[in-house]
Symmetry: none
Subunit: 226 residues, 2 copies
DNA sequence: TGATTATTTCACATTTTCTTCACGATATTC
DNA sequence: GAATATCGTGAAGAAAATGTGAAATAATCA
Protein backbone atom coordinates (compact mmCIF):
# COMPACT_ATOMS: atom_id res chain seq x y z
CA UNK A 1 0.00 0.00 0.00
CA UNK A 2 1.41 3.31 -1.07
CA UNK A 3 2.24 5.82 1.63
CA UNK A 4 0.21 9.00 1.60
CA UNK A 5 2.20 12.11 0.76
CA UNK A 6 1.68 15.12 2.99
CA UNK A 7 2.88 18.67 2.40
CA UNK A 8 3.68 20.52 5.63
CA UNK A 9 3.85 24.31 5.32
CA UNK A 10 5.11 26.44 8.18
CA UNK A 11 7.67 29.17 8.39
CA UNK A 12 9.03 27.94 11.69
CA UNK A 13 11.62 25.28 11.09
CA UNK A 14 11.07 23.81 14.55
CA UNK A 15 7.34 23.34 13.98
CA UNK A 16 7.95 21.68 10.61
CA UNK A 17 10.33 19.24 12.19
CA UNK A 18 7.89 18.31 14.96
CA UNK A 19 5.06 17.65 12.53
CA UNK A 20 7.35 15.87 10.11
CA UNK A 21 8.61 13.54 12.82
CA UNK A 22 5.17 12.51 13.95
CA UNK A 23 3.82 11.95 10.49
CA UNK A 24 6.89 10.04 9.42
CA UNK A 25 6.55 7.86 12.49
CA UNK A 26 2.96 7.17 11.45
CA UNK A 27 4.26 6.04 8.10
CA UNK A 28 3.48 9.04 5.97
CA UNK A 29 5.65 10.58 3.33
CA UNK A 30 6.35 14.19 4.28
CA UNK A 31 7.41 17.15 2.17
CA UNK A 32 8.18 20.47 3.81
CA UNK A 33 7.68 24.00 2.57
CA UNK A 34 8.85 27.09 4.46
CA UNK A 35 6.42 29.72 3.13
CA UNK A 36 3.39 30.21 0.91
CA UNK A 37 5.24 30.54 -2.36
CA UNK A 38 7.42 27.58 -1.61
CA UNK A 39 4.24 25.64 -0.81
CA UNK A 40 2.60 26.39 -4.16
CA UNK A 41 5.82 25.54 -5.93
CA UNK A 42 6.21 22.19 -4.17
CA UNK A 43 2.53 21.34 -4.49
CA UNK A 44 2.40 21.80 -8.23
CA UNK A 45 5.71 20.05 -8.78
CA UNK A 46 4.58 17.01 -6.75
CA UNK A 47 1.29 16.25 -8.42
CA UNK A 48 0.48 13.39 -6.06
CA UNK A 49 0.23 15.15 -2.72
CA UNK A 50 -2.63 13.70 -0.70
CA UNK A 51 -3.04 16.29 2.03
CA UNK A 52 -1.72 19.70 3.04
CA UNK A 53 -1.09 20.99 6.54
CA UNK A 54 -0.96 24.74 6.34
CA UNK A 55 -0.01 27.39 8.84
CA UNK A 56 -2.05 30.59 8.50
CA UNK A 57 0.53 33.15 9.57
CA UNK A 58 3.38 33.18 7.10
CA UNK A 59 5.52 35.77 5.35
CA UNK A 60 5.06 36.52 1.63
CA UNK A 61 1.89 34.53 1.06
CA UNK A 62 -0.24 33.48 4.01
CA UNK A 63 -2.33 30.35 4.49
CA UNK A 64 -5.48 31.86 3.03
CA UNK A 65 -3.65 32.87 -0.10
CA UNK A 66 -2.13 29.43 -0.55
CA UNK A 67 -5.52 27.83 0.01
CA UNK A 68 -7.18 30.04 -2.58
CA UNK A 69 -4.55 29.31 -5.19
CA UNK A 70 -4.62 25.58 -4.64
CA UNK A 71 -8.41 25.44 -4.70
CA UNK A 72 -8.35 26.84 -8.21
CA UNK A 73 -6.94 23.57 -9.42
CA UNK A 74 -7.27 20.93 -6.75
CA UNK A 75 -9.57 19.48 -4.14
CA UNK A 76 -6.73 18.12 -2.02
CA UNK A 77 -7.74 18.18 1.66
CA UNK A 78 -6.30 21.04 3.67
CA UNK A 79 -5.78 21.28 7.41
CA UNK A 80 -5.21 24.76 8.77
CA UNK A 81 -2.97 25.42 11.74
CA UNK A 82 -3.98 28.44 13.78
CA UNK A 83 -2.09 30.09 16.60
CA UNK A 84 -5.19 30.88 18.58
CA UNK A 85 -8.63 29.44 18.07
CA UNK A 86 -10.15 32.87 17.46
CA UNK A 87 -7.68 33.48 14.67
CA UNK A 88 -9.58 31.05 12.53
CA UNK A 89 -12.25 32.79 10.57
CA UNK A 90 -13.98 29.50 10.10
CA UNK A 91 -16.64 30.77 7.77
CA UNK A 92 -14.10 32.21 5.39
CA UNK A 93 -12.13 29.01 5.75
CA UNK A 94 -14.93 26.69 4.85
CA UNK A 95 -15.81 28.82 1.85
CA UNK A 96 -12.23 28.42 0.71
CA UNK A 97 -12.50 24.69 1.24
CA UNK A 98 -10.55 24.14 4.42
CA UNK A 99 -11.33 20.70 5.77
CA UNK A 100 -10.21 21.06 9.34
CA UNK A 101 -8.69 23.44 11.85
CA UNK A 102 -6.15 22.55 14.47
CA UNK A 103 -5.03 25.21 16.91
CA UNK A 104 -1.55 25.43 18.34
CA UNK A 105 -0.40 24.01 20.52
CA UNK A 106 -1.80 20.64 19.53
CA UNK A 107 -1.06 17.13 20.67
CA UNK A 108 0.65 14.99 18.06
CA UNK A 109 -1.91 12.30 18.65
CA UNK A 110 -4.72 14.59 17.61
CA UNK A 111 -2.86 15.82 14.58
CA UNK A 112 -2.23 12.31 13.34
CA UNK A 113 -5.78 11.25 14.18
CA UNK A 114 -7.24 14.12 12.15
CA UNK A 115 -4.94 13.38 9.25
CA UNK A 116 -5.97 9.75 9.27
CA UNK A 117 -9.64 10.60 9.57
CA UNK A 118 -9.52 13.01 6.68
CA UNK A 119 -7.55 10.73 4.42
CA UNK A 120 -9.92 7.90 5.16
CA UNK A 121 -12.97 10.06 4.61
CA UNK A 122 -11.65 11.44 1.36
CA UNK A 123 -10.57 8.17 -0.06
CA UNK A 124 -13.58 6.42 1.32
CA UNK A 125 -11.97 3.08 1.59
CA UNK A 126 -9.13 3.83 -0.72
CA UNK A 127 -8.75 1.64 -3.73
CA UNK A 128 -5.45 0.47 -2.35
CA UNK A 129 -7.20 -1.06 0.61
CA UNK A 130 -9.72 -3.09 -1.34
CA UNK A 131 -8.76 -5.69 -3.88
CA UNK A 132 -11.56 -7.32 -5.82
CA UNK A 133 -11.77 -10.01 -8.43
CA UNK A 134 -14.74 -12.06 -9.51
CA UNK A 135 -16.48 -12.15 -6.17
CA UNK A 136 -13.30 -12.33 -4.14
CA UNK A 137 -13.09 -9.15 -2.07
CA UNK A 138 -10.07 -8.53 0.12
CA UNK A 139 -10.12 -5.59 2.51
CA UNK A 140 -6.80 -4.66 4.01
CA UNK A 141 -8.31 -2.26 6.52
CA UNK A 142 -10.64 -4.73 8.11
CA UNK A 143 -8.52 -7.74 7.12
CA UNK A 144 -11.67 -9.45 5.96
CA UNK A 145 -11.96 -11.64 2.87
CA UNK A 146 -15.35 -12.36 1.38
CA UNK A 147 -16.05 -14.83 -1.37
CA UNK A 148 -19.36 -14.22 -3.08
CA UNK A 149 -20.35 -12.16 -0.08
CA UNK A 150 -19.47 -14.84 2.42
CA UNK A 151 -16.73 -14.17 4.93
CA UNK A 152 -13.83 -16.63 4.91
CA UNK A 153 -10.95 -16.75 7.40
CA UNK A 154 -7.49 -16.23 6.02
CA UNK A 155 -4.31 -16.40 8.06
CA UNK A 156 -1.73 -13.66 7.72
CA UNK A 157 0.42 -15.46 5.14
CA UNK A 158 -2.57 -16.72 3.21
CA UNK A 159 -3.94 -13.20 3.07
CA UNK A 160 -0.68 -11.73 1.85
CA UNK A 161 -0.15 -14.44 -0.70
CA UNK A 162 -3.63 -14.18 -2.17
CA UNK A 163 -3.33 -10.40 -2.26
CA UNK A 164 -0.08 -10.78 -4.18
CA UNK A 165 -1.76 -13.07 -6.66
CA UNK A 166 -4.65 -10.69 -7.17
CA UNK A 167 -2.31 -7.77 -7.66
CA UNK A 168 -0.42 -9.67 -10.32
CA UNK A 169 -3.20 -11.28 -12.26
CA UNK A 170 -2.24 -12.92 -15.48
CA UNK A 171 1.44 -12.87 -14.64
CA UNK A 172 3.39 -16.08 -14.18
CA UNK A 173 5.05 -15.71 -10.80
CA UNK A 174 8.20 -17.76 -10.19
CA UNK A 175 8.47 -19.23 -6.72
CA UNK A 176 11.55 -17.16 -6.02
CA UNK A 177 9.66 -14.02 -6.96
CA UNK A 178 6.85 -14.96 -4.60
CA UNK A 179 9.25 -15.68 -1.76
CA UNK A 180 10.94 -12.32 -2.24
CA UNK A 181 7.70 -10.40 -2.23
CA UNK A 182 5.47 -12.18 0.24
CA UNK A 183 8.02 -13.58 2.65
CA UNK A 184 10.58 -11.59 4.59
CA UNK A 185 13.82 -10.82 2.85
CA UNK A 186 15.64 -12.92 5.42
CA UNK A 187 13.67 -16.06 4.73
CA UNK A 188 15.83 -18.93 3.61
CA UNK A 189 13.45 -21.85 3.78
CA UNK A 190 12.21 -24.22 1.13
CA UNK A 191 10.16 -22.77 -1.67
CA UNK A 192 7.86 -25.77 -1.44
CA UNK A 193 6.23 -24.06 1.50
CA UNK A 194 4.51 -21.87 -1.07
CA UNK A 195 2.82 -24.96 -2.46
CA UNK A 196 1.32 -25.76 0.90
CA UNK A 197 -0.12 -22.29 1.19
CA UNK A 198 -1.43 -22.44 -2.35
CA UNK A 199 -3.19 -25.65 -1.50
CA UNK A 200 -4.89 -24.04 1.48
CA UNK A 201 -5.89 -20.96 -0.45
CA UNK A 202 -7.28 -23.03 -3.30
CA UNK A 203 -9.39 -24.96 -0.82
CA UNK A 204 -10.73 -21.79 0.75
CA UNK A 205 -11.53 -20.30 -2.62
CA UNK A 206 -13.75 -23.27 -3.41
CA UNK A 207 -14.69 -23.43 -7.08
CA UNK A 208 -12.62 -20.30 -7.66
CA UNK A 209 -9.54 -22.18 -6.53
CA UNK A 210 -8.84 -23.13 -10.10
CA UNK A 211 -7.97 -19.50 -10.83
CA UNK A 212 -4.61 -20.18 -9.25
CA UNK A 213 -2.89 -21.99 -12.07
CA UNK A 214 0.26 -24.04 -11.79
CA UNK A 215 2.98 -23.02 -14.21
CA UNK A 216 5.07 -26.11 -14.52
CA UNK A 217 8.71 -25.64 -13.57
CA UNK A 218 8.14 -22.00 -12.70
CA UNK A 219 5.52 -21.22 -10.13
CA UNK A 220 1.93 -20.01 -10.16
CA UNK A 221 -0.33 -17.61 -11.98
CA UNK A 222 -3.69 -16.16 -10.98
CA UNK A 223 -6.07 -15.91 -13.91
CA UNK A 224 -9.83 -16.02 -14.10
CA UNK A 225 -9.83 -16.93 -17.77
CA UNK A 226 -9.44 -20.49 -19.02
CA UNK B 1 -24.75 16.33 21.99
CA UNK B 2 -26.78 17.09 18.91
CA UNK B 3 -28.73 14.26 17.35
CA UNK B 4 -27.34 13.02 14.08
CA UNK B 5 -29.58 13.59 11.09
CA UNK B 6 -30.05 10.65 8.76
CA UNK B 7 -31.65 10.68 5.32
CA UNK B 8 -33.40 7.41 4.47
CA UNK B 9 -34.06 6.83 0.78
CA UNK B 10 -36.25 3.96 -0.39
CA UNK B 11 -39.17 3.78 -2.75
CA UNK B 12 -41.04 1.32 -0.55
CA UNK B 13 -42.99 3.17 2.07
CA UNK B 14 -43.00 0.12 4.32
CA UNK B 15 -39.23 -0.17 4.28
CA UNK B 16 -38.80 3.52 5.05
CA UNK B 17 -41.06 3.19 8.05
CA UNK B 18 -39.19 0.20 9.42
CA UNK B 19 -35.83 1.94 9.19
CA UNK B 20 -37.23 5.20 10.48
CA UNK B 21 -38.68 3.48 13.52
CA UNK B 22 -35.46 1.79 14.51
CA UNK B 23 -33.33 4.86 14.00
CA UNK B 24 -35.75 7.10 15.83
CA UNK B 25 -35.76 4.63 18.67
CA UNK B 26 -31.95 4.88 18.73
CA UNK B 27 -32.25 8.62 19.05
CA UNK B 28 -31.51 9.72 15.54
CA UNK B 29 -33.25 12.40 13.57
CA UNK B 30 -34.69 10.83 10.43
CA UNK B 31 -35.70 12.40 7.13
CA UNK B 32 -37.31 10.26 4.43
CA UNK B 33 -37.10 10.45 0.66
CA UNK B 34 -39.09 8.26 -1.69
CA UNK B 35 -36.85 8.25 -4.76
CA UNK B 36 -33.52 9.43 -6.09
CA UNK B 37 -34.60 12.88 -7.16
CA UNK B 38 -36.44 13.46 -3.92
CA UNK B 39 -33.29 12.35 -2.11
CA UNK B 40 -31.06 14.89 -3.87
CA UNK B 41 -33.64 17.58 -3.26
CA UNK B 42 -33.90 16.84 0.46
CA UNK B 43 -30.17 16.40 0.85
CA UNK B 44 -29.26 19.77 -0.60
CA UNK B 45 -32.06 21.57 1.23
CA UNK B 46 -30.97 20.10 4.58
CA UNK B 47 -27.30 20.98 4.57
CA UNK B 48 -26.62 19.26 7.87
CA UNK B 49 -27.39 15.64 7.05
CA UNK B 50 -24.84 13.37 8.72
CA UNK B 51 -25.48 10.09 6.94
CA UNK B 52 -27.51 8.66 4.08
CA UNK B 53 -29.08 5.24 3.86
CA UNK B 54 -29.72 4.54 0.22
CA UNK B 55 -31.60 1.80 -1.58
CA UNK B 56 -30.03 0.80 -4.89
CA UNK B 57 -33.14 -0.14 -6.81
CA UNK B 58 -35.34 2.90 -7.27
CA UNK B 59 -37.38 4.49 -10.06
CA UNK B 60 -36.21 7.66 -11.82
CA UNK B 61 -32.73 7.86 -10.32
CA UNK B 62 -31.21 4.77 -8.69
CA UNK B 63 -28.84 4.56 -5.74
CA UNK B 64 -25.69 4.72 -7.85
CA UNK B 65 -26.90 7.89 -9.52
CA UNK B 66 -27.75 9.55 -6.23
CA UNK B 67 -24.38 8.53 -4.84
CA UNK B 68 -22.53 9.98 -7.81
CA UNK B 69 -24.39 13.29 -7.60
CA UNK B 70 -23.89 13.67 -3.90
CA UNK B 71 -20.19 12.83 -4.08
CA UNK B 72 -19.69 15.77 -6.40
CA UNK B 73 -20.33 18.08 -3.50
CA UNK B 74 -20.22 16.16 -0.28
CA UNK B 75 -18.34 13.54 1.63
CA UNK B 76 -21.32 12.54 3.75
CA UNK B 77 -21.15 8.82 4.62
CA UNK B 78 -23.42 6.60 2.56
CA UNK B 79 -24.82 3.17 3.40
CA UNK B 80 -26.20 1.18 0.47
CA UNK B 81 -29.10 -1.19 0.85
CA UNK B 82 -29.02 -4.12 -1.54
CA UNK B 83 -31.71 -6.67 -2.18
CA UNK B 84 -29.30 -9.54 -2.61
CA UNK B 85 -25.65 -9.64 -1.61
CA UNK B 86 -24.53 -10.19 -5.18
CA UNK B 87 -26.37 -7.10 -6.33
CA UNK B 88 -23.67 -5.04 -4.68
CA UNK B 89 -20.89 -4.34 -7.10
CA UNK B 90 -18.63 -3.58 -4.19
CA UNK B 91 -15.72 -2.33 -6.20
CA UNK B 92 -17.83 0.19 -8.10
CA UNK B 93 -19.37 1.13 -4.80
CA UNK B 94 -16.11 1.80 -3.06
CA UNK B 95 -14.92 3.89 -5.97
CA UNK B 96 -18.08 5.97 -5.72
CA UNK B 97 -17.42 6.38 -2.04
CA UNK B 98 -19.97 4.04 -0.53
CA UNK B 99 -19.00 3.43 3.07
CA UNK B 100 -20.94 0.27 3.79
CA UNK B 101 -23.35 -2.27 2.34
CA UNK B 102 -26.26 -3.85 4.12
CA UNK B 103 -28.25 -6.49 2.34
CA UNK B 104 -31.98 -6.99 2.82
CA UNK B 105 -33.35 -8.44 4.88
CA UNK B 106 -31.25 -7.02 7.71
CA UNK B 107 -31.57 -7.11 11.44
CA UNK B 108 -32.31 -3.74 13.02
CA UNK B 109 -29.43 -4.26 15.43
CA UNK B 110 -26.98 -4.56 12.58
CA UNK B 111 -28.35 -1.52 10.83
CA UNK B 112 -28.07 0.61 13.93
CA UNK B 113 -24.66 -0.82 14.75
CA UNK B 114 -23.33 0.05 11.30
CA UNK B 115 -24.80 3.52 11.45
CA UNK B 116 -23.18 4.14 14.80
CA UNK B 117 -19.85 2.73 13.70
CA UNK B 118 -19.75 4.87 10.59
CA UNK B 119 -20.78 8.05 12.29
CA UNK B 120 -18.14 7.52 14.91
CA UNK B 121 -15.48 6.62 12.40
CA UNK B 122 -16.18 9.65 10.24
CA UNK B 123 -16.03 12.04 13.11
CA UNK B 124 -12.63 10.61 13.96
CA UNK B 125 -11.55 12.14 17.19
CA UNK B 126 -14.09 14.89 17.00
CA UNK B 127 -14.97 17.32 19.69
CA UNK B 128 -17.41 14.76 20.99
CA UNK B 129 -16.59 13.99 24.57
CA UNK B 130 -18.74 10.89 24.79
CA UNK B 131 -18.01 7.67 22.99
CA UNK B 132 -20.66 5.00 23.08
CA UNK B 133 -20.96 1.50 21.75
CA UNK B 134 -23.33 -1.27 22.72
CA UNK B 135 -23.66 -0.27 26.35
CA UNK B 136 -20.05 0.85 26.73
CA UNK B 137 -20.08 4.59 27.45
CA UNK B 138 -16.86 6.52 27.76
CA UNK B 139 -16.83 10.12 28.85
CA UNK B 140 -13.65 12.02 28.13
CA UNK B 141 -14.55 14.92 30.37
CA UNK B 142 -15.30 12.99 33.51
CA UNK B 143 -13.05 10.08 32.52
CA UNK B 144 -15.83 7.74 33.61
CA UNK B 145 -16.63 4.51 31.85
CA UNK B 146 -19.94 2.77 32.35
CA UNK B 147 -20.80 -0.66 31.06
CA UNK B 148 -24.52 -1.29 30.84
CA UNK B 149 -24.98 1.62 33.21
CA UNK B 150 -22.54 0.35 35.77
CA UNK B 151 -19.42 2.37 36.46
CA UNK B 152 -16.12 0.57 35.94
CA UNK B 153 -12.65 1.89 36.80
CA UNK B 154 -10.26 2.34 33.90
CA UNK B 155 -6.70 3.55 34.26
CA UNK B 156 -5.42 6.24 31.94
CA UNK B 157 -3.81 3.85 29.44
CA UNK B 158 -6.74 1.47 29.52
CA UNK B 159 -9.08 4.37 28.85
CA UNK B 160 -7.06 5.66 25.93
CA UNK B 161 -6.64 2.22 24.43
CA UNK B 162 -10.32 1.36 24.65
CA UNK B 163 -11.22 4.77 23.23
CA UNK B 164 -8.89 4.11 20.32
CA UNK B 165 -10.55 0.78 19.69
CA UNK B 166 -14.01 2.32 19.77
CA UNK B 167 -12.99 5.05 17.40
CA UNK B 168 -11.65 2.54 14.94
CA UNK B 169 -14.28 -0.12 15.01
CA UNK B 170 -14.02 -2.79 12.40
CA UNK B 171 -10.48 -1.85 11.49
CA UNK B 172 -7.63 -4.28 12.04
CA UNK B 173 -5.14 -2.30 14.09
CA UNK B 174 -1.52 -3.45 13.93
CA UNK B 175 0.38 -3.30 17.21
CA UNK B 176 2.72 -0.70 15.81
CA UNK B 177 -0.20 1.48 14.82
CA UNK B 178 -1.63 1.19 18.31
CA UNK B 179 1.69 2.09 19.90
CA UNK B 180 2.02 5.14 17.68
CA UNK B 181 -1.44 6.37 18.46
CA UNK B 182 -2.09 5.47 22.07
CA UNK B 183 1.38 5.61 23.55
CA UNK B 184 3.65 8.64 23.61
CA UNK B 185 5.78 9.30 20.59
CA UNK B 186 8.89 8.65 22.63
CA UNK B 187 7.85 5.18 23.75
CA UNK B 188 10.24 2.51 22.65
CA UNK B 189 9.13 -0.42 24.77
CA UNK B 190 7.85 -3.84 23.87
CA UNK B 191 4.64 -4.06 21.92
CA UNK B 192 3.64 -6.94 24.16
CA UNK B 193 2.63 -4.37 26.72
CA UNK B 194 -0.41 -3.81 24.54
CA UNK B 195 -1.43 -7.41 25.13
CA UNK B 196 -1.35 -6.93 28.87
CA UNK B 197 -3.62 -3.93 28.59
CA UNK B 198 -5.94 -5.77 26.23
CA UNK B 199 -6.22 -8.56 28.74
CA UNK B 200 -7.20 -6.13 31.47
CA UNK B 201 -9.69 -4.30 29.27
CA UNK B 202 -11.26 -7.55 28.16
CA UNK B 203 -11.70 -8.57 31.77
CA UNK B 204 -13.30 -5.27 32.67
CA UNK B 205 -15.62 -5.45 29.69
CA UNK B 206 -16.96 -8.78 30.93
CA UNK B 207 -19.01 -10.55 28.29
CA UNK B 208 -18.33 -7.66 25.93
CA UNK B 209 -14.63 -8.46 26.11
CA UNK B 210 -14.99 -10.67 23.09
CA UNK B 211 -15.56 -7.59 20.96
CA UNK B 212 -11.82 -7.08 21.04
CA UNK B 213 -10.74 -9.62 18.49
CA UNK B 214 -7.22 -10.89 18.00
CA UNK B 215 -5.95 -10.64 14.45
CA UNK B 216 -3.18 -13.18 14.39
CA UNK B 217 0.11 -11.82 13.16
CA UNK B 218 -1.21 -8.28 13.10
CA UNK B 219 -2.84 -6.94 16.21
CA UNK B 220 -6.40 -6.37 17.38
CA UNK B 221 -9.75 -5.29 16.06
CA UNK B 222 -12.82 -4.05 17.88
CA UNK B 223 -16.04 -5.35 16.40
CA UNK B 224 -19.43 -5.91 17.94
CA UNK B 225 -20.78 -8.07 15.13
CA UNK B 226 -20.59 -11.89 14.83
C1' DT C 1 9.62 9.89 52.09
C1' DG C 2 6.69 6.00 52.06
C1' DA C 3 2.68 4.02 50.39
C1' DT C 4 -0.26 3.25 46.69
C1' DT C 5 -1.30 2.68 42.10
C1' DA C 6 -0.26 2.19 37.29
C1' DT C 7 2.63 0.49 33.78
C1' DT C 8 5.91 -2.48 31.81
C1' DT C 9 8.53 -6.56 31.58
C1' DC C 10 9.24 -11.28 32.05
C1' DA C 11 8.55 -16.31 32.06
C1' DC C 12 5.84 -19.87 30.94
C1' DA C 13 1.42 -21.92 29.08
C1' DT C 14 -1.40 -22.12 25.27
C1' DT C 15 -2.87 -21.55 20.73
C1' DT C 16 -2.33 -20.86 15.98
C1' DT C 17 0.33 -20.78 12.07
C1' DC C 18 4.16 -22.07 9.21
C1' DT C 19 7.36 -25.30 7.42
C1' DT C 20 9.10 -29.62 6.39
C1' DC C 21 8.83 -34.20 4.90
C1' DA C 22 7.38 -38.37 2.68
C1' DC C 23 4.83 -40.39 -0.76
C1' DG C 24 1.68 -40.62 -4.49
C1' DA C 25 0.10 -38.25 -8.66
C1' DT C 26 0.93 -35.78 -12.74
C1' DA C 27 3.36 -33.65 -16.30
C1' DT C 28 7.53 -33.47 -19.33
C1' DT C 29 11.27 -35.34 -21.88
C1' DC C 30 13.48 -38.49 -24.71
C1' DG D 1 6.05 -45.59 -22.66
C1' DA D 2 9.71 -45.45 -19.31
C1' DA D 3 12.57 -42.32 -16.83
C1' DT D 4 12.77 -38.05 -14.66
C1' DA D 5 11.41 -33.94 -12.69
C1' DT D 6 7.80 -31.35 -10.61
C1' DC D 7 3.63 -30.81 -8.11
C1' DG D 8 -0.41 -32.12 -4.77
C1' DT D 9 -1.46 -33.62 -0.36
C1' DG D 10 -1.87 -34.83 4.44
C1' DA D 11 0.39 -35.26 8.65
C1' DA D 12 3.73 -34.03 12.03
C1' DG D 13 6.48 -31.10 14.57
C1' DA D 14 8.84 -26.64 14.53
C1' DA D 15 8.21 -22.04 15.00
C1' DA D 16 5.86 -17.99 16.04
C1' DA D 17 2.36 -15.27 18.24
C1' DT D 18 -0.71 -14.61 21.90
C1' DG D 19 -2.77 -15.39 26.79
C1' DT D 20 -1.75 -15.10 31.49
C1' DG D 21 -0.13 -14.26 36.11
C1' DA D 22 3.33 -12.38 38.74
C1' DA D 23 7.26 -9.62 39.54
C1' DA D 24 9.83 -5.45 38.62
C1' DT D 25 9.85 -0.75 37.56
C1' DA D 26 7.91 3.78 37.24
C1' DA D 27 4.72 7.25 38.44
C1' DT D 28 1.65 9.42 41.67
C1' DC D 29 -0.04 11.11 45.86
C1' DA D 30 -0.65 11.82 50.75
Amino acid sequence: MKKSKILVVDDEQRMRKIINDFLTKSDYNVIEACDGEDALDKFFKNKDIDLIILDIMMPKLDGWGVCKEIRKESKVPIIMLTARSDEADELQGFKLGVDEYISKPFSPKILVARVEAILRRCKGISSDDVIECDGIVMNRLTHIVTIDGKEVDFSYKEFELLAYFLQNQGIALPRENILNNVWNYDYYGEDRTIDTHVKKIRAKLGNKGKYIKTIWGIGYKFETLD
